[in-house]
């Protein structure tokens, strides 16, 4: 045999054209929807199309983006994760009590942040363990862990609002680089990290594979349980970071720091083209979904839709966007769950 490296380039170059490798047309729906929604709001509202509002949208997307990256790995496996509110709450209070704050004399700075993220990862790990050891479906395992997280947070909260005085953490929300808050850059870093993990790490590719055909992995001698636990742990870490980010934005640790992020992250991921059945989509898909959801929230305020109707209009547009995105994939005998 010739040197394999040479051989493979030759062979591969020779027959590249037909089989599917990269992005395909069916992934184009969500980005198109994003452009359309953006265009409509830009046409309707002068305030929407300003540079500062675009910055605002990006800043506003930061926390949701980090949560959604975490949840995307879980969704890729075909599992679901409702633990974000609890884990974010626990991490928010933890970090607020560990960095300089008004409740105690701690001033751990970066270490405090790391501990909060680790705690969050631990809670995520708990979900994974319940799934693989107790064989409890992730829906319930993560719902349980969310309750545990909220309980822990309430314990630590102990009735008095911890406000942070750590300049670094406060600075994340306030200071800007190239027009974007540091938090937004952190979120962008997470997107990049998530994408690298999805593309280049065994964990990411196996998560994707578990969603595609879990039983085949077992037949190939791969023990999937550790990877499942690792994915939930990773997701937990992202939620933890998101909790820290919320704390930085509010300068205070709130038990409710993660309220509502479970469903909005799932919505964002699905709108971006990640399937709840697993095996499709990924970080970049989800990021598009996050932008779509954030643009919607912002745009509805900008064009002045009544607060009473905002939720409803948003729901309607999300359904419409998903419907439009699935049209090209519709088949007679297609299974939709």
């Amino acid at each position: 045999m010739t040197s394999p490296a040479e051989a493979d380039t030759e062979v591969v170059q020779a027959r590249r054209p037909q089989p599917r490798r990269g992005v395909s047309l069916r992934d184009a729906g969500p980005p198109i929807a994003l452009v359309v929604v953006f265009g409509v709001f830009a046409a309707l509202s002068p305030g929407f199309r300003t540079l500062s509002n675009v910055q605002n949208v990006l800043d506003a997307a930061a926390v949701l983006a980090v949560v959604t990256i975490g949840i995307s790995f879980v969704l890729m496996m075909g599992s679901i994760d409702l633990s974000a509110p609890g884990i974010m709450g626990a991490s928010a209070i933890t970090v607020a009590l560990l960095v300089a704050n008004n409740r105690n004399d701690n001033d751990l700075g970066f270490v405090g942040i790391a501990v909060a993220v680790l705690l969050a990862a631990g809670l995520g790990c708990l979900s994974g363990l319940a799934l693989v050891l107790l064989k409890v479906p992730s829906f319930m395992a993560t719902l349980g862990v969310s309750a545990v997280g909220l309980g822990l947070a309430t314990l630590l909260f102990a009735g008095v609002q911890p406000n942070i005085a750590d300049p670094m953490l406060e600075g994340w929300a306030v200071e800007r680089f190239l027009g974007l808050a540091h938090l937004t850059w952190i979120a962008l870093g997470c997107v990049l990290l998530g994408w690298l993990v999805q593309r280049y790490s065994r964990l990411g590719r196996y998560a994707f594979a578990i969603g595609g055909a879990e039983e085949v992995l077992a037949l190939s001698g791969v023990r999937v349980a550790p990877y499942k636990v690792a994915v939930f742990t990773l997701a937990g870490a992202f939620y933890g970071l998101a909790g820290v980010m919320v704390t930085s934005q509010l300068s205070a640790g709130l038990v409710q720091a993660g309220r509502g992020y479970d469903f909005s992250a799932i919505t964002a991921a699905v709108v971006g083209g990640t399937l709840l059945t697993g095996g499709r989509g990924g970080i970049l898909h989800s990021t598009v979904g996050v932008l779509l959801v954030t643009v919607l929230t912002n745009g509805l305020v900008q064009v002045g839709v009544s607060p009473y109707w905002q939720g409803g209009v948003q729901g309607l547009i999300v359904v419409a966007a998903v419907a439009a995105a699935v049209i090209p994939q519709r088949r007679r005998n297609q299974v939709t769950k």
């Binding site: 493979d8 591969v12 790490s201 055909a213 992995l217 077992a218 037949l219 190939s220 001698g221 499709r280």
Partner: protein
């Protein structure tokens, strides 16, 4: 003709220990003794065929050989050394690898990843993918079998045959785990392949023999005799003997499989015996177009069996699905017994008296966790009801009748269908359309896929019986021989169009070659 198991000739004349030896393997399932003391020897550099009826225990035996089934008793020896196989990895470390009866690739990964899955070696270092290395490793495997696919193509974008090649490339990775020649196990690899693909596969199997041993399972006995050196036969979970392939006839193998002297000619017997002339046109298709087929005209008369042949991608499967309302059409008209047929959905098709047996049994044909009885009566619910209410007794009687008539081997009608062997599952799926006796048109997509000879001739007999009673049948056959043997007329499809029609009356059958010429 039957030779002693322990002293078979060693190819090459050396007296090396056999590559693999099984002694007295036993495996019980609730209600079934799947393996009842199996003995088997696989020599170095030989292709051993394994034959047996549906449910004889072939898959169970093979799964035990790769650590997926934990036997209740018995021994497995690899190259003269007794081993205990606890997992696929264990088996791979001993040089045993298997291509499963149902394809087992992760559809959303690249071919390269599938090939190295679970044994990435230098392709993944510290959890990080090195795509160049991965691609190289995969390419090495593909080169071994001379496949030209792109290792970075997503697996679900590959053709069926290419995927099978990926599976073989993947199983050959076990070479990297042992310094010894591997034993490659192929469980019914041909049941989903077209004849051309089968040829390619056989070329690969013969190449494999140069450096490995192969265990090959197929219900097409001529195939088995063609590619194997020796054939061992299982019956009821026991080894009942073996024959050297050279000079053996399928009928002889079959006799061993069923333990009695059955009829010799299962492919052809009775083919000519249908007395009635086909009746008036029952199905008339005019200018039908859909996603993968264009402008198809087709006519099937009552009592007629029309085979449609074509390669993968010829559009024949989608045509069938369209006639059953399971695939959208863009133009054309279909009439059934002179009435315009509603193609809007499967429900309408069923109501019109159309039956459809899909090729993908596991995902489309049966509802795995549901019982044999419920699977059988899923379509014709009225057959088990009086008024709107289900009558369990009525269902039981009906189902038991059909279990008996089709010799479906199941512990009980209440057993989950997924516990049956593949062939028996297929019979249940077929029976679904027969229980009420009101089918006018049957669309059969590979109805005998995975069936043993006995079950197959049973299905043939049934088809003929149905045709005799006036049912029109469209058959997408498992092999050209089957198409020729069973059909009154054969339509060739290529590139989405029905290009040629060849009459195939009994007595005037075309040859496979005649068809192949038209197909490409």
């Amino acid at each position: 003709m039957t030779t002693n198991l322990q002293t078979g000739p060693v190819p090459g004349g050396r007296t090396a220990p056999p590559a693999l030896e099984v002694r007295g393997l036993v495996k019980h399932y609730p209600g079934v003794k799947a393996l009842d003391g199996v003995d088997l020897v696989v020599h170095q550099n030989e292709v051993l065929g394994l034959a047996g009826e549906n449910g004889a225990g072939k898959s169970t035996l093979l799964k035990a050989l790769v650590g997926l089934v934990r036997p209740d008793a018995g021994e497995i020896w690899v190259r003269g050394e007794r081993v205990r196989l606890r997992s696929v990895v264990d088996a791979a470390n001993h040089g045993l690898g298997m291509v499963f009866q149902e394809q087992s690739l992760v559809p959303n990964l690249t071919a390269a990843e599938n090939i190295v899955l679970g044994s990435e070696g230098p392709g993944v270092r510290r959890g990080i993918y090195h795509w160049r290395t991965m691609r190289r490793l995969a390419q090495e495997q593909l080169d071994k079998i001379g496949s030209h696919i792109d290792p970075l193509a997503r697996t679900d974008s590959l053709s069926f045959a290419d995927r099978q090649m990926v599976e073989i490339a993947k199983v050959l990775r076990i070479e990297e785990r042992t310094s010894h020649p591997p034993v490659i196990i192929l469980d019914e690899p041909t049941s989903v392949l077209e004849s051309k693909e089968i040829e390619t596969l056989f070329t690969q199997v013969r190449r494999l023999r140069e450096f490995a041993s192969v265990v090959f399972v197929s219900h097409r006995l001529d195939e088995v005799l063609d590619v194997c050196d020796r054939v061992a036969v299982l019956r009821g979970g026991r080894s009942v003997g073996e024959v050297p392939a050279a000079g053996a006839a399928p009928a002889e193998l079959h006799r061993m499989m069923i333990g009695s002297t059955g009829s010799d000619d299962h492919y052809h017997d009775g083919l000519a015996e249908r007395s009635e002339e086909p009746g008036r046109p029952r199905l008339v298709v005019r200018g039908l177009s859909g996603r993968t087929f264009r402008d198809v005209d087709l006519e099937v008369r009552a009592g007629e069996i029309v085979g449609i042949v074509g390669v993968h991608g010829s559009g024949r499967e989608d045509l069938c699905r369209a006639l059953f309302g399971a695939e959208a059409t863009t133009a054309g008209e279909v009439q059934l017994d002179g009435e315009r047929l509603d193609l809007s959905g499967t429900r309408a098709a069923c109501a019109a008296g159309i039956g459809y047996v899909p090729a993908e049994r596991k995902t489309e044909g049966m509802v795995g966790p549901m019982s044999v009885a419920d699977n059988m009566t899923l379509t014709k619910q009225q057959a088990r009801c009086s008024g709107p209410l289900v009558r369990p007794r009525k269902q039981a009687t009906l189902v038991d009748t059909w279990i008996e008539r089709l010799s479906i081997r199941t512990p009980h009608r209440g057993t989950a269908i997924q516990r049956l062997s593949g062939g028996n599952q297929q019979k249940v799926v077929l029976a679904r359309w027969l229980v009420s006796g009101d089918v006018r048109l049957l669309l059969l997509d590979h109805p005998t896929r995975g069936l043993d000879i006995g079950a197959r001739s049973e299905v043939y007999r049934l088809m003929r019986e149905l045709a005799g009673s006036g049912v029109a049948t469209v058959l997408l056959a498992d092999s050209l021989e089957e198409a020729i043997g069973m059909s009154d007329r054969i339509v060739v499809m290529s590139d989405g169009r029905a290009t040629t029609e060849i009459a195939a009356p009994s007595g005037g059958k075309p040859t496979p070659l005649d068809l192949v010429k038209e197909m490409v």
